[in-house]
Amino acid sequence: MITIVLVDDHQLVRQGVKSLLNLEPDFKVIGEASNGIDGIALVERLHPDILLSDLMMGDFGGIDVTRAVCKSCPKTKTIILSMYGDPVYIKHALKEGARGWVLKGNSIDELVAAIRTVDAGECYISQEITDQHGGLIVGAIAGVSAIVPRLLP
């Protein structure tokens, strides 16, 4: 069973993601929060396998959450789920210890694949992003992360 916590300030997005992820027989969304601070507290209490966090959430965003969770719950692996796909943000997040980046609007299948990949100890970046930025981004990201993201064939 892969346990998941969702952090996103948009209730509708949380609701949609949650109901789809729960369709996977071995996934369970065990908690959700609408801001970064509550999200960290929830992760520290529930110790999920995966934290799925939005990027832009007011003053305390996904990168801050990643940094905090990486410190207090190193076993929980963070994936950012965001509208943004700028390599600069991705690099920031990976530097703080995030293991994956999926774009909002990507299919749920891709999100499921990302969760499985990251849970297995690898790094995952949305295919749309690697398509756009080519192998360059992987090289740039490899510079800040010990785990090189897996590219889909």
């Binding site: 948009h10 509708l12 997005v13 609701q15 949609g16 993601v17 109901s19 789809l20 369709l23 832009m56 509208m83 943004y84 796909g85 700028d86 390599p87 600069v88 943000y89 909002k104 609007g105 990507n106 299919s107 749920i108 299948d109 756009q132 930025h133």
Partner: protein
Amino acid sequence: MDTGPDLKEQYRRLEEIIRALRNQEVDTVIGTKGIFMLRVKETEDALREQYRWLESLLAERTKLVEHLQAQQELLERQGEHLEQLVEERTAELRRLSHRLIDVQEKERNLIGIELHDQIGQYLTYTTLLIDQMARKHESQELTNARMAVQEAIGKIRNLSALLSPRLLRSDGLLIALDSFVEEYTRNTRIEVDFIHEEALHDLPNDVALACYRIIQESFTNVARHAKPGKVELRLSSRKHSVHLEVADDGAGFDPQRTEHSTGLTGMRERALALNGVLTIETGLGRGTRVSADIPFTIEETQ
């Protein structure tokens, strides 16, 4: 014009008498001694009169000169006043222009964030719903719907980045431009040479934003009109100013015929609003070079 008393006539008469004396015309001399004395007296009077006349003339001229000087001073003062007025008006216009740009940026920012943080999220939710339906029953319609919504999300992402450059605020001008240039080349297939220092001096937000917008506008113009082989972007900063340059080897244009281009005016306004200068060098078939220098002061922070 008044020429004064007729001195010539007096001299002529005196000279006549002197000539008579030289010629030893004794009779004439003796006979004319009385007349001679009379003539001397007359000449003396005429000279005095002439002198008085000259004095009055001088006084008159002096008065005229003084009057003219006063007029000139008045004109100079009025000139200075006008110059000051023009300066004040120019400064006021600049302030207004600055405020207008400010208001415009705030609006853009708001729309960008709204698009991204609201509309974008509803669309995200919509794709999730489509995915959910597809799990139950996949169909061509659902696939098309998903593609359309994903297209819309991509457009919103680009539009939002254009309106509200968040990266500029969070990571500064160089990184925002790096990202902008990469995106630009990807969309237009125009190669960009971005030449800059390792790091820029700390730029105030409004200066960084002005640079970003001027560069953005220049690049849009290049893609629209120039059809260049490549574009060169240069950026350098000193302690109190930043210099930027966008140069292409494309079509160029006739600098006399740019009345229609509000883009160029907008770029100039942005530089002017921050007391900077923007110059455009171009000619048909000669490429275009936009350069700007914008001064700034850094508030010392402890």
